[in-house]
């Protein structure tokens, strides 16, 4: 399986994402500079965390106007798995690939620690290796992770099972404790916590690894005959 890690000016979790896919999961991965990225031929696309364009204007807003986002739109439409973490989630929201927006944390603090997440939906290509209701320990590191959407959008997220992860102890004020959501089709996942920072015991948790393993298992099931 071949992963693309899209690197924007200001991305700073790109190497962690690459390491998780390449070294821990043991699959192919490339880091692609956003300006000359060609997303063709990749089985999954990873949008890493960081501070794209210095978070100017709004987190993820400037990155959402770059040409690579048009490619992302086409790939999302074509069903290619796309994972956006932290600033990657912010970019997906600003691009309209996922519904809602992120506000500053309720307590106005940058928070960087482990949080317990509940796997609300294990029927996605990102979470099939988890148990439903499983509680996993994944680190957060954000200043603007307070998920917001209107009531109508929230009802639609619930009705379509798009809420994939919730916080056990909501740290940032997110609506309905939301930590991660997918698009309607289920092939685009955005989340504030960092699964790529929890892929080995030495990192204090390897609970994030199952997310990457789920992507791999789903891909094998679909494209590798007899696997």
């Amino acid at each position: 399986m071949k992963f693309a890690v899209v690197v924007f000016p200001g991305s700073n979790c790109d190497r962690d994402m690459y390491y998780a896919a390449k070294e821990v999961l043991g699959e192919e991965a490339d880091m692609l500079w956003y300006k000359d990225a060609n997303l063709d031929g990749y089985d999954a696309i990873l949008i890493p965390g960081g501070f794209s364009y210095g978070d100017y204007l709004r987190c993820g807003a400037i990155a959402s106007t770059s040409n690579v986002v048009n490619q992302l739109r086409a790939k999302a439409e074509a069903g290619v798995p796309i994972l956006g973490v932290c600033n990657g989630f912010q970019i997906l929201l600003e691009s309209g690939l996922l519904p809602g927006a992120l506000l500053r944390n309720k307590n106005l603090k940058f928070m960087c620690h482990f949080e317990n997440l509940v796997v609300e939906n294990n029927q996605t290509l990102f979470t099939s290796e988890y148990e439903e209701g499983e509680v996993v320990s994944i680190p957060i590191a954000h200043n603007e992770g307070n998920y917001y959407c209107d009531e109508e959008t929230l009802a639609s997220l619930r009705a379509n099972n798009q809420i994939v992860f919730t916080y056990q102890n909501n740290p940032n004020g997110s609506a309905a404790d939301i930590a991660g959501i997918t698009n309607k089709k289920g092939n685009v996942l955005g989340m504030m916590p960092h699964p790529e920072r929890a892929v080995e015991a030495i990192l204090n948790s390897d609970d994030g690894l199952k997310l990457f393993q789920s992507m791999l298992a789903n891909w094998r099931e679909r494209y590798v005959a007899g696997a």
């Binding site: 807003a61 106007t65 600003e94 506000l103 106005l108 917001y148 209107d150 004020g173």
Partner: protein
């Protein structure tokens, strides 16, 4: 030249923690009459004269300058002053 003044505010009902913090500080300073503070953004755009300017500014606001999910915007177009 035209000078476009864009004001961006959080929608009513959207939590504004920054505004709350500023309100708390004003209250600490003794301004107990301040009931609420909402923090927004103000942008100035100097643009060339263009027949479509209103429509263009509208597009700029909805596509990039404001996030319509959480923010409202308003703008005025004035005669620009030569720099």
């Amino acid at each position: 030249m035209k000078l476009v003044k864009v004001h961006i505010t959080l929608k009513e009902g959207v939590l504004d923690p920054q505004g709350k913090a500023v309100q708390g500080s004003l209250n600490t300073l003794g301004y107990d009459n301040v009931q609420e503070v909402r923090v927004g953004k103000y942008l100035e755009l100097t643009v060339n004269d263009d027949a479509n300017i209103e429509q263009e500014i509208e597009d700029m606001c909805s596509k990039l300058l404001a996030n319509p999910v959480i923010e409202n915007y308003s703008y005025t177009v004035e005669e620009g002053v030569a720099q």
